[in-house]
């Protein structure tokens, strides 16, 4: 498949491994030396709290990180009843990441790996317990205070379930205008015009403005959720399993839409998914998480061509394969097992 993976809009340097052997490059930020952004983390060494370094594939593009996290950790305090002490769950443990402008970082992992907690931190819904989040190069501090309008407009999120993330009593038009009401001072007429224009942008019709969410299919609802996220002109869009609840054909449409929008608005995506075939299609960079830690990261090509961590390999092995070759092998194995057992049956 990778032979067909040529994608428009990527610089020629993208797939250049720069002759650095995988695993050799241990610098954070993983860029060719000298091309490191001004935000080099000099203090990084020894700050990683647990486990070894994740597997790092060399990854050449990091000159303009629009979103960056350094040693992000998030603890949750759970339990603590009358007879039991509280327990601390470390949902995210010292995660570093950086996403260049206009690219897609895919975060892959199974339930409980901390990927949605990380999404909430990036979207400024929850503050990290420790660590720093940088948006467009500036550190963001939201513990104990609300993020500013300006800041909130930079990052938006699309959730997995389009049925649960839209208010059933709100008309689509109002769904789209609300972010503008909250975060800008635009007059009502302008808000309305922008909402109508955005409906068309995501492949819906202006007359859908006055309809309620229940009148739409799952795919259309996800389009509405994407439109809502784009109303305030964010530069970063966090997509938390955006196509997992959709049928295959609708999934294809929504993925195409996301690719178009990324190109048109230069959006940076953080794409959270457990579906490796989707990740392989859409991601530039891949980060695999297990129990709150990053176990492997690198460019899509590197991670898919040469998964190094055991867990990444387990994930790959568990992902269903639709190639003719593997189907043929499976059918043949079954036929020979069957022949063998019938042989035994006749012999006895």
């Amino acid at each position: 498949m990778s032979g067909r993976d040529e994608r428009p809009g990527e610089g020629p340097g993208t797939t250049d491994p720069r002759g650095v052997g995988p695993g050799v490059e241990r610098q954070l930020g993983v860029g060719p030396a000298g091309a490191e952004p001004a935000t080099v983390r000099a203090d990084e060494a020894g700050r990683r709290p647990t486990g070894g370094d994740p597997v790092r594939h060399p990854s050449p593009l990091l000159d303009d990180p629009v979103l960056e996290g350094r040693a992000i950790t998030r603890d949750y305090h759970v339990g603590g009843g009358l007879f039991r002490g509280a327990k601390v769950v470390q949902a995210v443990r010292g995660v570093d990441f950086a996403v260049p402008r206009g690219k897609t970082l895919a975060i892959v992992g199974e339930s409980g790996c901390g990927k949605s907690t990380l999404a909430r931190i990036i979207t400024l819904i929850d503050p990290p317990t420790s660590g720093t989040l940088l948006i467009e190069g500036k550190p963001v501090e939201i513990t104990g205070r609300r993020p500013s309008r300006e800041l909130r407009s930079r990052v938006q999120i699309v959730f997995q379930n389009p049925h649960g993330s839209l208010n059933p009593r709100q008309k689509v038009g109002h769904v789209l205008m609300e972010p503008l009401e909250l975060n800008t001072d635009l007059p009502a007429a302008e808000r309305r015009d922008r909402a109508r224009a955005m409906l068309e942008k995501v492949g819906l019709l202006p007359e859908h403005f006055d309809r309620y969410p229940h009148m739409f299919s799952g795919g259309q609802r996800q389009r509405i959720a994407i439109a809502r996220a784009l109303m305030v002109n964010p530069s970063i869009l966090v997509l938390d399993e955006p196509v997992s609840a959709l049928d295959l054909s609708v999934q294809a449409q929504v993925l195409n839409l996301l690719a178009d929008l990324q190109k048109e608005f230069g959006l940076t995506y953080v794409f959270i998914s457990h579906d490796l075939s989707v990740v392989r299609h859409i991601a530039d960079e891949v980060m695999v998480m297990l129990r709150g830690e990053v176990v492997e990261r690198g460019s899509r090509e590197a991670v898919f061509a040469d998964p190094r961590h055991d867990y990444t390999r387990t994930l790959f092995a568990a992902t269903p394969v639709t190639s003719l070759q593997s189907i043929r092998a499976r059918v043949e194995r079954k036929a020979s097992r069957r022949a063998a057992s019938e042989g035994r049956f006749h012999a006895s």
Partner: protein, 282 residues
């Protein structure tokens, strides 16, 4: 050899306030002993409804008609309630998408498995308990004796699905219908559950009908595939033929919508295909 399940021209419609809604429109299908049949389709294709009709689990608002609907010696069209209750859960069993929601949260796992054994096989007491342990061992749950005392909420989704499978195979059924059995599970757990289903299916020579929307699951499990779209059967073929040389435009569309089959950054969508088809016809 007569098929385990044979259905000819099955239609199901629901009475709604806006007139009848046809969920299934004239479907033929059959499954043999020891065969894995995948029914694949997107939401609204009627794949679940057709199987619920077989099980007699549809609500009163549904009208079921068919020329033939036969399970072994039983004519499912004329079957009485008592006879149906004797078959269902014993000779035909079904597992569902949401394992957590399929188990009763108020009773222990052991009670629910033993209930099946008591109702269908008349097993009680120690015999039922030891058979339940045996079943949990067969589905690969660690500490089976311990697990019998657990409530569903104390188990993970994958473990609950294993319990459901244990209940489904308790009476050595001839046919197991699995309706999206792994959709709610993580990919590594999905693999374990599918492997388990296939191992049990082969070991006991069960017929297995697997309802799914996931072409990957189809590729990994099925012997034969039925593709459904809007209540109609689009195509039926052995699994390799289906992936190698799909006949119906809808199947072609589904396969080309797989992200792994994308050319460049664009995915083809089913709509593209259907538009082409409409354009060609006009």
């Amino acid at each position: 050899m007569a098929p385990v399940l044979e259905i000819r021209n099955l239609s199901v419609s629901f009475d709604t306030s806006t007139g009848p809604f046809h969920a299934v429109r004239g479907i033929d299908l059959s499954v043999d002993r020891g065969e894995v049949l995948a029914i694949v389709g997107e939401s609204g294709s009627g794949k679940s409804v057709a199987m619920l009709a077989v099980m007699g689990l549809l609500p009163d608002t549904a009208t079921v008609t068919a020329d033939v609907m036969r399970f072994g010696p039983h004519d499912l069209l004329t079957i009485g309630e008592d006879e149906r209750r004797a078959i269902i859960g014993r000779e035909v069993t079904m597992i569902f998408q949401e394992p957590m929601a399929s188990l009763n949260p108020c009773y222990t796992v052991g009670f629910q498995i033993e209930e099946v054994l008591r109702l269908h096989l008349g097993m009680t007491g120690r015999a039922a308990r030891s058979r339940a342990v045996e079943l949990l061992t067969a589905v690969g749950l660690p500490d089976p004796a311990d697990k019998l005392r657990s409530y569903p909420h104390q188990l993970s989704g994958g473990q609950c699905q294993r319990v459901m499978i244990a209940m489904a195979i308790a009476c050595n059924p001839t046919l197991l219908i699995a309706d999206e059995p792994t959709t709610a599970l993580d990919v590594t757990i999905q693999k374990q559950i599918l492997d388990l289903l296939l191992t049990l299916q082969e070991k006991h020579g069960m017929a297995l009908i697997l309802i799914t929307h996931d072409m990957g699951v189809v590729a990994e499990t099925a012997d034969r595939v039925v593709v459904q779209y809007q209540g109609r059967k689009m195509e039926e073929a052995p699994v390799l033929n289906l992936f190698e040389a799909p006949q119906s435009p809808y199947t072609k569309a589904l396969l080309s919508a797989l992200p792994e089959n994308a050319t460049g950054r664009r995915l083809s969508t089913v709509k593209d295909y259907m538009d082409q088809l409409a354009g060609g016809a006009a």
